[in-house]
């Protein structure tokens, strides 16, 4: 980017920072600063780049899974669930009150064929959470055993599913990511959301 002589620009166009600590940012960047960042940004080393894939990692049963962060609306403590007469099934468990609105409460364990924990007592687990995901305006809430947070990967580092991985879960995975010495299954969001949509028909 060419170095600009900012004094030619009308100061009236800008509302500069009022707080004295922020006035530092009203100064122009130095050429060395720009060149350093230009070099850093173009670095082709995959290990040094933060990655183009942002995912939230969570645990269902013994399986560590991930979905792109863009689909997550909220992570919160588990709430009581209300069954829907004549509508609840193995995947659609009922409805739950989230921020004053009732949302569909589903079991991703059942959708993916993951074994349910031996007990559903909240005190059994270190972190007992439910997660809200949303796509095209429809929100789905499901319980999880643990939430590990948001992480970034290079999508080019996605590994293929191992040949010895069978069952419903394997068909819902795009591939595997390595995190903290573990393999995390990256879920195919299209298959997950379409599976959930079929459960309410």
């Amino acid at each position: 980017m060419k170095k600009k002589s900012f004094h030619f620009l009308s100061p009236s166009l800008y509302e500069h920072s009022v707080h004295p600590d922020l006035r530092l940012f009203d100064k122009p960047p130095t050429q060395e600063y720009i060149e350093e960042w230009t070099r850093s940004l173009s670095d082709l080393s995959k290990e040094n780049t933060p990655g183009d894939l942002s995912v939230l990692i969570f645990r269902l049963g013994r399986e560590w899974l991930a979905l792109p962060t863009i689909f997550f609306q909220e992570v919160t403590k588990r709430r009581p669930m209300h069954k829907l007469p004549h509508r609840s099934n193995q995947i659609l468990l009922g409805i739950v009150n989230l921020n004053g609105q009732f949302q569909l409460y589903v079991s991703l364990h059942q959708l993916l064929g993951i074994e349910l924990p031996a007990t559903s007592q909240p005190t059994q687990y270190k972190e007992d959470r439910m997660v809200a995901i949303v796509k095209e305006g429809i929100q789905w809430v499901f319980p999880v055993e643990e939430v590990a947070g948001i992480h970034r990967w290079n999508s080019s580092l996605l590994e293929e599913n191992p040949l010895n991985l069978y069952g419903t879960l394997s068909t819902h995975l795009k591939g595997l990511l390595r995190w903290n010495g573990k393999h995390v299954g990256l879920l195919d969001e299209e298959l997950v959301f379409s599976g959930l949509a079929r459960s309410v028909r």
Partner: protein, 145 residues
Amino acid sequence: MLLLRIHVGKKGYAIDCRHIVRILPQVNVQKAKHVPYYVVGLMNVSGILVPLIDFCQLIDNRETGFFLHSRIILLQDRPNSPQIGLLAERVMETFEKDMKSMTSNEVESTHLPFLHKCEDDKQEEIEYLNVSQLFTFLLADNLLT
């Protein structure tokens, strides 16, 4: 919903953080020919050329000010989709606001269909930048394939 507040002069705009890949200081770009007037050039992001849009040029028909608070926001419509860089002024803070109140208003101007008038967390006027609609706008201008 977490939103990033950016500015063109004194006017504020809000971007849904779920579409933000990264926020960067200004960098050198490669000039490109036959591109729309609001395109500064092409940035090298890990070996991939990403177009850099001057948001002040698009909104106010002037170049973005050369300050440390003028930053580049790397945006993505969907996971694994092409990225663009958006250069704007006073890119320095985020705020929380519920989605319905940000997107319920009608389009403000027909030539910039991705902007929607609304209020920020302090009930002050701000415009919500719909990233998906911005990408559609850029696609129509033959900037993206």
